[in-house]
Symmetry: C2
Subunit: 219 residues, 2 copies
C-alpha cells in the first residue's frame, strides 16, 4: 500500500515530461523506468517512446481520449449498429459451410467468405471467425445436452437426419483429410494477412469506409 504509492510517485517524477505513456488511447501512468540503465543503452536510443503516442501525424488532439476514441481509433463503430446482425442468406451460407465440414477457417478462408457474404449485407472478417467459433461450441454443447438428456449411449449418433450425420460423422473425417501430415499451420486470426498487407498500405487508418451497401434485411 505505502510502497506502491512510493513507486507511483517515483515513476511520475521520472516521466514527468511525457504527457503519459499513452499507447493508442488508454492512458496509464508509466512505471518501472528501469529501461535506460540495465544493459544496453542502444535500446533507449532507437526505441522512441514518443512515437508510441502516435507514430505519424503529430499531436492530434490533446487529451481528447474519451471523445476522440469513437472516431479515430475505432474502426467499426459506425453510427447505429454495434454488432453484426447476419442476414438470412449469410446464415444459410455459413451453415452450409459448417455442414460442409468447415470448423475453423484460416485467415484466407475467412477473407474469402467475408467477401462472398458481403454481397448480402455488411460483414467483417471477425464476424465470420466468431460465428464459426460460437457455432462450433454451441453445437457441441447442444449435442452434449442431448446425449445427457436422453441418457443414451453417447457414442452412437441416433441418425435422425442427414444434416446431423454430415456434421458429426462424415465431415469429421473430411476435416482432417489433408491438413498436412505435418501440423496445422496456416490458421486464423487474420494477423498474418494484415501483417503482409501493411507493407503496401500507407497507414490510411482514419476513414471508416462503408464497403458493402448494407442491405435492408432484418431477419
Amino acid at each position: 500500500m505505502e510502497l506502491s504509492m512510493k513507486v507511483h510517485q517515483f515513476a511520475r517524477g521520472f516521466w514527468e515530461h511525457e504527457p503519459s505513456l499513452s499507447l493508442g488511447c488508454k492512458r496509464f501512468r508509466p512505471l518501472a523506468p528501469k529501461l535506460a540503465n540495465t544493459e544496453s543503452g542502444s535500446i533507449t536510443a532507437s526505441f522512441d517512446l514518443k512515437s508510441f503516442i502516435r507514430p505519424e501525424s503529430g499531436p492530434r488532439n490533446k487529451l481528447g481520449c474519451s471523445d476522440e476514441k469513437r472516431e479515430t481509433t475505432q474502426v467499426e463503430t459506425q453510427p447505429g449498429g454495434t454488432r453484426w446482425n447476419p442476414t438470412q442468406e449469410q446464415i444459410r451460407i455459413l451453415e452450409m459451410l459448417y455442414r460442409g465440414g468447415m470448423r475453423t477457417p484460416n485467415a484466407q478462408q475467412i477473407e474469402q467468405i467475408t467477401v462472398q457474404l458481403g454481397k448480402f449485407g455488411k460483414i467483417e472478417g471477425k464476424n465470420v471467425f466468431y460465428w464459426f467459433q460460437n457455432h462450433k461450441a454451441r453445437e457441441r454443447q447442444k449435442q452434449k445436452r442431448n446425449s445427457l438428456g436422453l441418457s443414451h449411449c453417447p457414442r452412437t449418433p441416433p441418425a435422425t437426419s442427414i444434416t446431423s450425420i454430415i456434421t458429426l460423422d462424415t465431415l469429421g473425417e473430411v476435416e482432417r483429410e489433408e491438413d498436412s501430415p505435418y501440423k496445422r499451420k496456416c490458421r486464423s486470426w487474420g494477423f498474418e494477412s494484415m501483417e503482409e498487407e501493411r507493407r503496401y498500405c500507407k497507414e490510411e487508418g482514419d476513414k471508416t469506409l462503408e464497403l458493402f451497401p448494407l442491405h435492408p434485411e432484418g431477419r
Copy 2:
C-alpha cells in the same frame, strides 16, 4: 455409418465437376448441396462458389496444395524459423509495457508496438498479441502457485520487490483507469484493421517480404 456413406457418395456425384470445394488450401469434399433448392434462388445466383477457390487470379496451379502451400498461401514460413523468437530488446520492451500496466493491447496498440519492436528483429502483430496473452496468463498462474505454495493469506501481497507491486497493485488500478466506462470495445485480433486496409490493398498476397533485418542476436 451406411447413411453417411450414402451422403458422401451423393455429394461427390453432385460436385463432381468441381475439383473440390477447396477454400484456401485445406481440401474437403463439399457436402450438403441443399443451397440451390431451399427458398431463394437469388443466393445461388450471386454466391459464386467458384470464386472461393481463388477470387481473382485464375487457376494458379492444379492440385499443388502440399508443395505450393509453403510459398504462395503461407505468409510467415520463411526458410529457417517458423515461430517468433524474440530478441532481448523485444522482451525487455514488452515486459516494460507489461509492468507499465498493459495487459491486452488493442489492434492499434499492437500495431504500434509491432512497428517499434520491429527495429530489433522480425516480428508480427500476432506475436505481440500472443505474448501479452501468454505472459498475462502465466504471470497469473505463477502467482497462484506462489500463493498456494506459501499457504499465505492470499489477499496481502508480500511486497517483495517493486516490480511485483507494479504488476499487481498499482497498475491494477491504472488498468481500469480510463478504459471507457462503457465496455472493452476496441480489442485486439487485428481483424478490424485488416478489414479496413483490405480496401486499399489489392491482394498482393504472394511475396514473403523481409521487413526487418533480423539482428543476429541469440540469447
